[in-house]
Symmetry: C2
Subunit: 478 residues, 2 copies
């Protein structure tokens, strides 16, 4: 265990002892579990019961008596409260609960969730979560195999929206590692591309990450909701060619007539910003006319395409092969957002079905966000970000472009991008391989264990069982 | 319920029916619950048992047989797996489990967690989580009352790190609402302030939000780990006065000798960037010497101070009153990070104890991050970001400064900053008050229910019980 100041041990002891006597604890939990089984699981999944006993907010407030008071309540009152909470909640495992985002109750996943809650640990280091650190690694490895990747990395995130943000952050870091320290102000304007049918988390993410929603360039979708690769190509060229200030007439000007963007200093580094766009940066420069034209014409730097496998509203699958071609041509990070209805990843064995593109696999993507808490009903939250180690197969295109910034070496990308090497958690002199301390791969500190529920249901049903389930859902959906 | 395309209903039905027959489901869950009670709860909290049966990674991998295979397994095998997972996991509820971040097992909180998992809903709209939308509102209101605030807003986040990020994002949005759309590139360089003893999530957050870790100015701490307000004041002045380029000799220069930062154009808007710092922006400008001096001297814009109530390593409490004075003078957002050992918020009734500052209340803060999953052992994750509506009491200082950007109107700040108004979830023509659809307050989409476990333990123990518990922990800690 991590060495700790005495003060904390004392505090911990006081709390543990508060848990009360074991017999009472067990009696309470047995009673609550009985209520859960009867009310939430049996009645909650029975077609003859209601999905929800609907009440208007004001009435529900009264019925629940939500107010938190000074005095505690008796065990009987508490059990009544548990019953009321379940009674007035929506039963998401009910056969008539139809939601676009998740539904169904999987008993093995629920079993995994109950164990997770009873163990209540955090997923940062091997010493505090030995089982779950190894389990997460295995589940992620297996998810990568299913999307067709033999190597790579990944992490469980608190939802697909945050997985998508991770992808964007990793892509910009991979291209501009300086960004972590110096921020976006020192970078050229960046552009990312996604279709008009994308999930709103792409916009939310761009705002949160400081890029701004303007950095999201919206690509056309066809009448089935699939991204149009030709329009993607067009949007990329437009972004690249963006001229914040028209300099078409500049050649005809005399040197004296030029606006004074020529700046001669030896040090420190200098840059110009026009219209909010950085025109040049680096060591001190005296811009001659050709330089100026070059910098002026640089526009925004495309860095990522987010394709959606299973769009939120139409369930459309963007044509990944054609999009991957575009990404390869321009050296862009290809992220596949399969956080909505993306079960296609697991259905990878099916033949290509051009009509629906259900089975388009993200084998050429740099990252995939995938939500077992949706189609697989693993339980909220269970969302994986998968990274492919594309260093080998991208080598050719990189050599063509003559640069190495396009190489996606997942090797430690998550840790390099998100890590802070906090010494109080991630000591480097541990007696085991510190690579197992996955906590520094994330922007969180404490992190829930989200892998056990998926692992347990996978063990119980096998890949075959899970695939059958997804195929069945998709077959019904055609 | 939200109207849904037929395709999804079909998919949902297929999955629900997969849950199998109710008798088998109940038998499985009963068996798992029995194991949980015996192994995780009884043995897991008994002083005569081990905290953890420690194994080296390679050995543990073999013992757990983590690999996911094609075939499913029998119920007996699955139950054995459950036992193994518990056996080799750390028992965080064990009386000898000493961790700096969380420990202890609260039976009511665990009961709340089991109900949460069995209901498995998401916290975005009233129609999908009627009970929990109202409950979250009440728990947040009560938490605000405990920190001394009569109005405001708040939200449960996936951990204190993300709560801290929210505070930073809200503060920058409140000052520069444009940032959401246009990104950081159009803003002046920003600076936020925190002590050297702050949690690493402040740095991680600055990187993730695109500000860069350089934007975090580190303020000195005294020998007990508390931020030194005089050094905060000094750091703020330094950031404001930051001169990326020394122009001290500029008055002596002839106009011709001036570096050509004087730029005469009529349109479009123009700005200068030197050393990565924006020197001026807005409509076209011809900078005269005094202008230049003004812009050059503008440096970084301080916008937030993150004080820590209960630092991670030393458990120190930053002197909030003195820090609030500094923030008020400079019009800065005061965030209080109580996500570590911050139980002081609940101990607000205790008298001021200058020696340890344990009871320093964040009554003058704009936001507080507070983690019931730590000291209160509510279970991971349970982390609240609280916002104060400071519009009234800050009015005086705002009028003095003669600007309104300092007003923290929480009124819808979360929604304005994070919202995307996705029509598929947040229809505005609902038959209830859409203010209850809290989903657009967050950067996530699906969001776990994190309030029930805290509410249930609060109901059972009363504010008195919870306060006693915290006081006891702190008393022991002195
Ligand atoms: C395509 C798509 N991506 C991302 C998300 C967000 O996932 P989460 O709710 O896990 O944040 C959704 C949710 O509906 C989605 O449909
Ligand atoms: C002071 C402080 N702030 C924030 C955090 C992060 O909280 P969380 O682990 O919930 O992300 C911690 C965790 O140790 C902390 O000590």
């Amino acid at each position: 265990m991590t060495a700790l100041p005495q003060i904390l041990m004392a505090a911990s002891e006081a709390l543990s002892s508060h848990a009360g006597d074991p017999v009472a604890v067990e009696a309470l939990l047995q009673a609550v579990f009985g209520i859960v089984v009867d009310e939430a699981i049996q009645k909650g999944t029975s077609a003859s019961e209601k999905v929800c006993e609907w009440k208007e907010p004001e009435e529900l407030k009264k019925l629940l008596d939500l107010e938190l008071r000074s005095q505690g309540e008796s065990q009987e009152q508490i059990l009544d409260r548990c019953r009321a909470v379940i009674r007035y909640s929506v039963k998401t495992g009910h056969p008539r609960f139809f939601n676009q985002l998740f539904s169904g109750l999987d008993p093995h996943a629920l079993a995994g969730r109950i164990i997770t809650e009873s163990l209540n640990t955090s997923q940062y280091t091997y010493e505090i979560a030995p089982v779950f650190v190894l389990m997460e690694e295995e589940v992620l490895r297996k998810l990568r195999v299913l999307v067709g990747w033999s190597s790579g990395d990944g992490i469980f995130c608190p939802g697909g929206s945050i997985s998508n943000m991770y992808a964007v952050n990793l892509a910009r870091y991979q291209r501009y590692p300086d960004c972590k320290q110096r921020g976006l102000r020192t970078l050229p304007p960046l552009a990312l591309f996604t279709s008009k049918e994308c999930h709103y988390s792409i916009q939310k993410g761009a705002a949160f990450l400081g890029l701004g929603t303007d950095s999201v360039r919206v690509v056309k979708a066809d009448d089935r909701g699939r991204m149009v690769p030709e329009d993607l190509e067009r949007q990329i060229s437009m972004a690249e060619a963006e001229r914040p200030w028209d300099i078409s007439g500049i050649e005809d000007m005399e040197q004296e007539q030029l606006p004074s963007f020529a700046w001669t200093v030896s040090t420190p580094p200098v840059a110009f910003l026009v219209h909010g766009y950085l025109l040049g940066a680096g060591a001190a420069i005296h811009l001659s006319l050709p330089d100026v034209k070059g910098t002026f014409g640089s526009g925004a730097v495309p860095f990522l395409v987010s394709a959606t496998s299973g769009t939120t509203v139409l369930g459309a699958f963007d044509p990944l092969e054609a999009i991957a071609d575009v990404c390869q041509r321009h050296g862009l990070w290809l992220h596949v957002d399969g956080s909505g209805k993306g079960g296609g990843a697991l259905g990878g064995e099916l033949e290509e079905e051009p009509l629906t593109c259900l089975c388009s696999t993200p084998s050429r993507a740099d990252s995939v966000a995938w939500n077992p808490h949706k189609l697989l009903a693993a339980g909220l939250q269970c969302s994986a970000l998968l990274l492919q180690d594309t260093s080998t197969w991208k080598k050719a295109s990189v050599e063509r472009v003559g640069s190495d910034i396009l190489l996606t070496l997942t090797q430690n990308l998550l840790k390099r991008c998100h890590g802070s090497q906090a010494s109080y958690l991630f000591q480097q002199d541990k007696f085991y391989d510190v690579e197992l301390d996955t906590g520094d791969k994330v922007v969180q500190c404490g992190r829930r264990v989200d892998c056990l529920k998926l692992w347990l249901m996978w063990k119980a049903q096998g890949s075959q069982g899970l695939e059958r389930r997804i195929d069945q859902a998709f077959a019904l959906a055609r």
